[in-house]
Symmetry: C2
Subunit: 222 residues, 2 copies
């Protein structure tokens, strides 16, 4: 049974003790660039080293030529997965990154739709073509854009969909999963809470209740 | 008089002595994510601290929501300028970053055209609109795409254009400046050279000679 549909977006560090307390109620942890700049690579690795979560996802939203993206991910071997932008295209960029990650048994997520208002949907067809060509483990679709989640779920049946933007950015817990996402990415509402573990448990309960009552949604038990 | 049209892309560290030797023959230094992951923020700041170059440009190709991009740049106050992607759009993203950088007297460069083959030109109109709306100090146009440099130079008369992709990625030194760029970004051909300072001087000379002989190009002395 799936223990949680929550990926903690850790943009600032929580203590090892708190993370240990939370590990059984999290699917994964997403590490942002602000955290790695604060802690450095070595301390970030130490903090995450023996946590029992399914995935450690490094989210630098990579968007560079292949040579640079490979130089970045090779330094972060503690992670199981990396997020890059679809928009940058395949040749000389995502093709090289994907090949490197495959060879090192790491996963790739591609950004399909971002959560902020200014993200343009002019490029949807182009982005879907890049996703088809690269065939990543999963895609990132903003949790504030539920119609997009459902659209991408229909087009990419078995691909994992992870959705940021829940909580502080305006998405309601559980709505992204109801719309077709596998996991919801939640940051500030947990790491800024007075009691992060209690906040996580409350959110998990809200998502469970919402999912039990989704109507017409494409809900997938893994 | 302009001392050089070269921005050194330092993706891996050169020693302080070598940088000091080179400072009078460089316009600026561009710092990539691989370097900051290797050295950490503190040592990167120390390395660059009293170098006499016009600009220190942090090139993480930022492509995230405003909140995250601000969290990144606020940790890197040793830099004078930051590179972000245009394609992420304005509202909730580049608008917030621009406002923050303006308030802190920092410059923004937006990526217009990347240097790798897979970069799509389907969205040129959209990207130009974002650049007009944000009005950054400058833009980044791949030095392997000389027609694009000339096109952007015509459309954005006074904006600074910086061009990566010279040398190892296939662009010939001086061609981007001849096509309308202000500066050429050169990395591997300098930092991987046995004698980086000698390599820089040779490249500066090639660019000077080329620029003296540009035909019909939009060459701007600053």
């Amino acid at each position: 049974m799936l223990k949680s549909r929550v990926i903690l977006a850790m943009d600032k560090p929580l203590s090892y003790q708190i993370l240990k307390e939370m590990e059984n109620e999290l699917y994964g942890i997403k590490i942002g660039l602000p955290l790695v700049l604060d802690l450095g690579v070595h301390k970030t690795r130490e903090l995450l080293n023996d946590l029992n979560v399914e995935e450690i996802i490094v989210d630098f939203k990579l968007a560079d030529i292949g040579f640079i993206m490979k130089s970045v991910v090779e330094k972060l071997s503690f992670a199981s997965s990396f997020i890059a932008h679809s928009f940058i295209g395949v040749k000389g960029s995502l093709d090289e990154l994907k090949k490197y990650l495959d060879a090192n048994s790491k996963n790739l997520y591609l950004v399909a739709v971002m959560s902020h208002e200014g993200w343009s949907t002019l490029f949807t067809d182009y982005i879907k073509n890049v996703i088809r060509e690269i065939s990543p483990k999963g895609i990132v679709v903003g949790g504030t854009k539920l119609d997009s989640i459902t659209e991408y779920r229909k087009d990419f049946g078995k691909m994992t969909i992870i959705s940021p933007g829940m909580g502080s950015q305006g998405g309601s817990y559980g709505d992204a999963v109801c719309a077709g996402a596998n996991y919801e990415i939640i940051g500030r509402s947990i790491y800024n809470a007075e009691n992060p573990f209690a906040a996580l448990r409350t959110i998990n309960k809200i998502i469970e209740d919402k999912v039990m009552n989704c109507k017409g949604a494409i809900f997938r038990e893994k």
